[in-house]
Structures are given as structure tokens and as C-alpha cells.
Amino acid sequence: MEALLALLFGTLFGAAIYLMLARSLPRVLLGLILLGNAAIIAILAGGRVIGTAPPLVASGETLLAAGAANPLPQALALTAIVIAFGLGAFVMVLVWAVWRETRTLDAEELRLAEPPGLPAAGAAAAAAAEPPEARP
């Protein structure tokens, strides 16, 4: 079972990468959601499949019966699900904001921070950027 989970993790991870490398931002968003799912599987698998019964203590007992699932990774995975959701929701709004501000959803056209031609488009551009009095 654990090996199966690991392979599933790899598949989801790879699919997430493929989508996140797309130029279209909505696809990047879908990739991010898949990445969250992959992470949750990894967390869950990390606690091993030591049992498949829900980790509930039977009434009258004070001890979790053998054969119950590991409760700790389930609790961590729950946290992870919620945080992945929060991140996903924020990125959804971010993608919407990008579209409203720049009117593009192409990742290659998002170059506000690094406009094409910078930092060093070539010797000619560098010479043009040099203040004139500094030239020999």
C-alpha cells in the first residue's frame, strides 16, 4: 500500500509540475491545486499504513485498538488540506487581479519586474546605458 501511495504521489507531483509550467495562468493554478493534493498524500504515507480502521477509541475503552490508522499524520494532513485551500484561494484571486491589471494571462508576458532587454541585452545596450561623459 505504501509503495502504491508513493507512486501516486510521484504521478500527481509530475502532473502538477507539467501544469505549472504552462504559459496560461489558470493552468498554473490547477497545477498548484494538484501539488497540494500530492503533498497531502506524502504526509499521509509518511505515517505508514499501520492500520485501516478509523482512529476512534471504542466506548468503554481507554486505549486505541490495534489495527487503527495512525492518527498523527491524519491530523497533519487535515491542517495541510486547509492551508492548501487557503493558498489556492488566494492564488485564484491573484490570477484574477493579474488579468484585471495587465490584461494578459500569459506567464511569459508578466515582465513588470524584469522587462525584456534587461539586465544585459548586449554590449550595445550597455554602452547606451553608460552616461555619455564616462565614455572615452
Partner: protein, 760 residues
């Protein structure tokens, strides 16, 4: 007073802010800054030779703050502070009214402090630190006129050559320290025997020589020195006489007792020194600019000094010491005189300057005194040094005596060009009012010129007190110098005379010789100056090319590169740690789990392959809901319910937002892009799976979950262990999770508001 010794460099350092502050406030009294070197001069005299003061610095590394005053250090320290006083006074007049005068004098003080520290240091690492500070300070001084590109280039060149090669020297020092077991100079010099057989010795010699040769402008690293002429005249005068370039020679002399039995050491010193003398002599004759001419003559002198240190006889050490002193006196004086000419007559061109003697009699006197010393005219201290140098160098076979003869003649020519011809002959035409400068600028040059004469007439003033201890320090054993006694035999006398005669003849015919020499363009690129330029340009273009390739501005490229590097690193660790592993224990998957896993994988692949928005959303939804079902089969009831809820809300949000955006079936990638991305994805997925497989193959420690299963009911009164963990055992985690959600909400709301406002 031995306890004054460590205070000398410390006080010099402490004077920097005082000078900067004081001169900035009252520029008219800038000349008072000369009191600092003057006071230090007195302190140097007050410290008895042989004093050693040491404090721990980094005891774990065997590095100490140790200073030592011996003959050589004393001579250097006196030169640094004594000539420094003249330079400070001169600089205050030379840069009078300059808005940056206070900065200039402060950097000059830093330079002096670093020089003092370097010559007084008894710990090689300490010496290296001061050594590098002199490089930095000289960078600031050479580039003082930062508005000029020429200055910036020269400063950069000096810094790169001296600091770059200085790093080689650091390697040499580390090897020497490792071989000796200590960095203390006095300990190394007291017992140099360990070097004879040590495997490191050739490396130490080569590396330390490289550093010293770069600092002292030895061939082929001489090319940076004339460029440093971009600096104001006081800097050139100081750099070329008592400081900077002398530091390399100083360290060679300092270490000579340890290495003087190494053939490699002697060969390197005499070889490089000889070539330096020759190239400097030729280049000095080509030059018209008096300042550059003096710079090349410095190269000749440095070559001479290096050669002398590399010669094996006691006489050579004495010659080196006397020449070091003589050269410092006349070179500082001549540089200052040329600075005065430049300022008052408006040119440094040897072809134009003439007949200024009547208008600037005191400048002419100072230059003449120094020039006669430089030419080695009897009666001046220069003649002793010349005889000593000639005697020391002519004892050896090979080309060196010939080179030495040529170098001596060249010195005579340069002396004549700088000290005689600008002042003699018909008065030049000048629109400037060429007069003697104020006393502040004349005091230093005149005093230095007069000292050259005084020491020449009465050599006993310096013979026993200065020259002998310094020569003994170079040799590593006591020596008799007998300065001023009849040393020269007849042959030497004739040779000296011959050099003088040749020099005078060339001097008289120089106007005809110079154009021929200047026509030899190939000399311009003598030494690796072209290689330096090429290397500098290559650094620029390589970094530009790397930047263009790495920093493309493409977010997708950044993501792909990050992933490949990260997963590649993980793969390396995996392979190094024993390769692939397969978890063996645990229950086998049941049929529903197989089916769900297949469904999830299919959904993930479909999300990549499908093109329409709705179809892709459905594929992602299948993955999400399938995960919930998978959790159910693994005993994660709460997990499953949360996943169902979150997945449902996510899908609603996705549809709500994506419906407002244009969605193209094409994801913008061409076939090549897709292949590349698929390769990255497959690689990343495979490594990720392999890493998780390796993790799962390791034994698991269930102490914590076991405890949680035991403690849930008695301590937290809860039967759902997962809930207990969330709200009790790890309640702070849950609080953090809620905070994250809240922050995401706040950020999203602010973003929406901002965009809405921007649109209005």
C-alpha cells in the same frame, strides 16, 4: 619606550577621523595634519630596536597581534613617517581649496597607518591584513579624481593586480605558516632550517614572490604602476618613494633570511629584477611625460632593489638598504617638484618645459639636489648607493652587469630630464604665472634634497644607526657596512663613470632618440597589459552572457530551473545514499484502493492532456474527490469529510473566477515547449516518488501516535483521536492554520479592493 610600538599604527589609525573632521572644518589649517606623521616619526625613534610586543588575536588559529621593531622595520617606518610629513604638508598646499581635501588627507592617513602596520607587523597574517589595506587605500587615492574615467580605470587596475595577486600571496603565507607551525615572523626567521627539505618550499617561494612582484611592479606585472600616475602628485610621490611599491621589496627583504639558501628564490629575484630594470629603463627613455618618466624610473629602481636582495653577498644587502633610502629621498622630492611644475607651468611634457629656473629658483634647487643624488654625482648620498650597487652587481657573471649599466645610464638621463632641463635653457612660453609655490609645498622637497646632500657629506650620520641594522635584518646576521669608506675598486669607478658618461650623452641627444623609441609601438603592450584588458572584458561579457541565460525574465524558466536543480540534488543524495528502495512491510492494497489509485492517476494525467476548461476542472475534481475516497479506505474519516468539503468549495470558487477570465484551449506552449516541460515533469515526478519510496523504506517510530492513542481518553476526554490531536495535543498548530487562512482572506480582500480602486 618599548610599549609605544603597538601604539604607532593604532594612533595612525585613530588620527583618521580627527584629520577628516578637523580639515573639513578648517581647511586653511590642513597643513597641521603633517603633525601626525611627524609625531609618529618621533615615536618610531623612541622605540628601541629589537622590541617585540605580542597579544593574542585568534589563538585557535595561531594568529597574534604582534609587532616588532628591527633595523629594517625601523628604516621603513622612519621613511614612511618622515616622508609622510613632507607629503601631508605638500598635499595641503597642492589641493588647497579642493572640496575633498579632508577626504584626501584622511585616506592618506589610512594609507600611512596601513603601511606602518605592515612594516612593523611580526605576524604574517597581520602583515597580510595591513598589506591588503594599503591596496584598498591606494585604490581610493589613485581614483581620487573619480570623475575622470582614466583615474577610475587606473585605480581599478592597481587594485585588481595587487589584490588579485595578493590572494596568491595569502596562499603562500598559509603554506609557510603550515610548514613553520607559526605565523610569527621572528620565529620563522630565527629557525629557517625547516624550509630546506620541506615539500611546500617551492610553492611558498613562487606564491610569495608573485604577491611581492605585483606590489612592487616587477616585470611582467609592472604595467599597473604608470597608470597609477592618474593620482594627484602627492600620492605619486608617496606611493613611489616610501610606501606601496616599497612594501613588496620590503617583504622580500624581510623574508630573505629564510629563503636565501633556496636557488629558486635567488633565481626568481635576480631574473625578475633584471628584466624589470631593462624594461623600465627602455620605457623611461621613450616617455615624454615627466611624471610617467619618473614612474618608469621607479620601475628600474624596484628592479634594482629586487636584484640586490636576490644576490648572495653581504655587500648586496648593504647596497639594497642604502639604495632604498636614497631612492625614497630623491624620488619623493622629484615627484613633488614635477607636481609643482605641472601646477605652475601647466604641463609635464619634457619637450615643452624649459628655462623655468629663474622664475622658480627654489623648486629648481630642490629638483637639482635630488637629481644629482639620483644621477650618483659624488658628494651626494646617491653616489655611495650607486657604487655599492655597481660593486654588488658586477661581481656576477651573465647579462646582469650589462643591464645594470644600461639602467644606471637611464637613471642619469631621467635625472637630467626632470631636474635639469625644465629649469635650464631658453624660457618657455606659458600663459601661466610660473612662480615658486608657498613654503608648505617647498619644505618637503627642499628638506629631502638637502638630506641627500647631508648624508652624502656625512655618511656616518646613518651608517651605524640605520643602514647597518637594516642590512643585518636582510641578511639575518650582523654585518659591517663601512659606508663612505673607499669601497670601489678601479674597475667599479670606471664603470660608474661610464654609466654617467653614457647617460649624459643620451641626455643631450634625447630629443632625437625619443621619437625613434616612441615609434616602437610594440613596447606599448610589453607585459600582460593587453591580457589584463582582455581578461577584464571577458569577465564582463561572460557575466553578461551568464546573466542573460540565467536571468531571462521568464517565470516558467525560473520555475523549471529551480525544480530541475532541486530534484537533481535530491536524486544525487538518493544515489549517494544507496539508490532506490522499496518499502516491503505494510498491508497489500485492496481492490478498491487499486481502483482509486488508478482513477487518481488518470485524473491527474487527464488534467494535463485535456484542453477545455470544464474538462480540466472535472479532471482536477476527480483527483480531489478521489482523494477523499482514498482517505476513507485508509481509515481517515475526518480527513475524507474535510477533503470533500474543501474540494467542493474549491471547485465552486474556480468556476466562479475562471468563468470571468478568457480561457483558451491552447495553453500557449508549442510542441518543443511541451516536450521540455513533460521531461521536467516526468523527471521531477520520478525523483519525488523515489524519494518517498526511500523514506517509507526506513523503519517508522510510532512512539508519538502510540502515546496519543493511550492519552486521548484519560487526558483529553476525547474518543476521536484525530480531533483530540487537532484541538488539544497540537492546538497551537491549529491556531496557526486558522491564522494562515485569515491572512489569505485579508490578502485576497485587499487585492480585490486595490484592483477595483485602480480601475475607477
Amino acid at each position: 619606550m618599548p610599549e609605544l610600538l603597538p601604539l604607532i599604527p593604532l594612533l595612525a589609525l585613530a588620527s583618521i577621523p580627527a584629520i577628516a573632521w578637523g580639515v573639513a572644518r578648517v581647511p586653511a589649517w590642513a597643513g597641521l595634519a603633517a603633525l601626525v606623521p611627524l609625531g609618529l616619526f618621533g615615536m618610531v625613534l623612541a622605540v628601541p630596536p629589537g622590541t617585540v610586543v605580542a597579544h593574542d588575536w585568534l589563538p585557535a588559529l595561531g594568529i597574534a597581534i604582534a609587532f616588532r621593531m628591527d633595523g629594517l622595520a625601523r628604516l621603513m617606518a622612519l621613511l614612511i613617517t618622515g616622508i609622510g610629513a613632507g607629503i601631508f604638508l605638500y598635499a595641503a598646499g597642492y589641493l588647497k581649496g579642493h572640496p575633498q581635501l579632508h577626504r584626501f588627507l584622511a585616506v592618506l592617513a589610512l594609507f600611512m597607518a596601513a603601511m606602518l602596520g605592515a612594516v612593523l607587523a611580526d605576524d604574517l597574517m597581520l602583515l597580510f591584513v595591513f598589506w591588503e589595506v594599503t591596496s584598498l587605500a591606494s585604490f581610493l587615492l589613485i581614483g581620487f579624481d573619480a570623475a575622470k574615467q582614466e583615474s577610475r580605470k587606473a585605480a581599478q587596475q592597481g587594485l585588481l593586480v595587487t589584490v588579485g595577486v595578493g590572494l596568491l600571496m595569502l596562499a603562500g603565507i598559509l603554506l609557510l605558516g603550515a610548514a613553520a607551525g607559526t605565523f610569527r615572523l621572528s620565529a620563522i626567521l630565527a629557525n629557517p632550517g625547516f624550509l630546506a627539505e620541506h615539500a611546500f618550499t617551492p610553492w611558498i617561494v613562487v606564491l610569495i614572490c608573485a604577491g611581492c612582484f605585483a606590489k612592487s611592479a616587477q616585470f611582467p606585472l609592472h604595467f599597473w604602476l604608470p597608470g597609477a600616475m592618474a593620482a594627484p602628485a602627492p600620492v605619486s610621490a608617496y606611493l613611489h618613494s616610501a610606501t606601496m611599491v616599497k612594501l613588496g621589496v620590503f617583504l622580500l627583504a624581510r623574508l630573505n633570511p629564510a629563503f636565501q639558501d633556496e636557488v629558486l628564490w635567488l633565481a626568481l629575484l635576480t631574473g625578475a629584477g633584471g628584466l624589470t630594470m631593462l624594461s623600465g629603463a627602455v620605457l623611461a627613455l621613450r616617455e615624454r611625460d615627466l611624471k610617467r618618466k619618473l614612474a618608469w624610473s621607479t620601475v628600474v629602481s624596484l628592479g634594482t632593489l629586487t636584484t640586490l636582495i636576490g644576490l648572495e653577498q653581504p655587500l648586496a644587502a648593504t647596497a639594497a638598504v642604502v639604495f632604498l633610502l636614497v631612492h625614497a629621498l630623491y624620488k619623493a622630492c622629484l615627484f613633488m617638484a614635477v607636481g609643482i611644475l605641472d601646477k605652475k607651468a601647466g604641463t609635464r611634457d619634457a619637450m615643452l618645459l624649459s628655462g623655468l629656473g629663474r622664475r622658480m629658483p627654489l623648486t629648481a634647487l630642490a629638483a637639482l639636489l635630488a637629481g644629482l643624488s639620483m644621477a650618483g654625482i659624488p658628494g651626494f648620498i646617491g653616489s655611495f648607493s650607486k657604487d655599492l650597487v655597481v660593486t654588488a652587481q658586477f661581481g656576477i657573471p651573465g647579462l646582469l652587469p650589462v643591464i645594470a649599466l644600461a639602467a644606471n645610464a637611464a637613471m642619469v638621463v631621467v635625472a637630467g630630464m626632470v631636474a635639469a632641463s625644465p629649469f635650464l635653457g631658453a624660457e618657455m612660453e606659458s600663459d601661466r604665472d610660473a612662480r615658486d609655490p608657498p613654503w608648505g609645498m617647498l619644505a618637503g622637497p627642499l628638506l629631502l634634497g638637502v638630506l641627500g646632500l647631508a648624508f652624502g657629506i656625512a655618511p656616518h650620520l646613518i651608517a651605524d644607526s640605520l643602514v647597518e641594522p637594516a642590512a643585518a635584518a636582510i641578511l639575518g646576521r650582523p654585518t659591517e657596512v663601512g659606508l663612505g669608506e673607499k669601497q670601489a675598486d678601479t674597475l667599479v669607478a670606471y664603470l660608474s663613470l661610464a654609466a654617467l658618461g653614457i647617460g649624459i650623452i643620451v641626455f643631450l641627444g634625447w630629443r632625437h632618440v625619443q621619437p625613434t623609441l616612441a615609434g616602437q609601438r610594440w613596447m606599448d603592450s610589453l607585459g600582460p597589459s593587453r591580457a589584463y584588458e582582455a581578461a577584464l572584458a571577458a569577465v564582463g561579457s561572460v557575466s553578461g552572457a551568464v546573466t542573460r541565460r540565467v536571468q531571462t525574465g521568464s517565470l516558467r524558466f525560473y520555475l523549471a530551473a529551480t525544480l530541475v536543480l532541486m530534484m537533481g540534488g535530491a536524486a544525487l543524495v538518493l544515489v549517494a545514499g544507496g539508490g532506490l528502495a522499496w518499502p516491503g512491510e505494510g498491508p497489500a492494497p485492496r481492490a478498491p484502493q487499486w481502483a482509486l489509485a488508478a482513477l487518481l492517476a488518470a485524473g491527474a494525467v487527464a488534467a494535463c492532456r485535456l484542453r477545455a476548461l470544464m474538462a480540466q476542472l472535472m479532471a482536477v475534481g476527480i483527483v480531489g474527490f478521489g482523494m477523499a475516497l482514498l482517505f476513507l479506505t485508509l481509515g481517515g474519516a475526518d480527513l475524507a469529510f474535510t477533503q470533500f468539503t474543501v474540494e467542493a468549495i474549491s471547485l465552486v470558487l474556480l468556476v466562479a473566477i475562471l468563468a470571468r477570465l478568457p480561457y483558451t484551449a491552447d495553453d500557449g506552449r508549442d510542441a518543443r515547449d511541451r516536450r521540455r516541460d513533460a521531461a521536467v515533469a516526468v523527471f521531477g515526478g520520478a525523483v519525488a516518488a523515489a524519494v518517498l519510496l526511500a523514506v517509507l523504506s526506513a523503519p517508522v517510530d510510532t512512539t508519538i501516535p502510540d502515546w496519543m492513542g493511550r492519552a486521548s481518553v484519560p487526558e483529553a476526554k476525547g474518543r476521536n483521536v484525530v480531533n483530540v490531536v487537532l484541538v488539544d495535543f497540537r492546538a497551537l498548530d491549529t491556531l496557526g492554520e486558522i491564522a494562515v487562512l485569515l491572512i489569505a482572506v485579508i490578502a485576497a480582500v485587499l487585492l480585490v479592493q486595490r484592483v477595483r480602486e485602480a480601475r475607477r
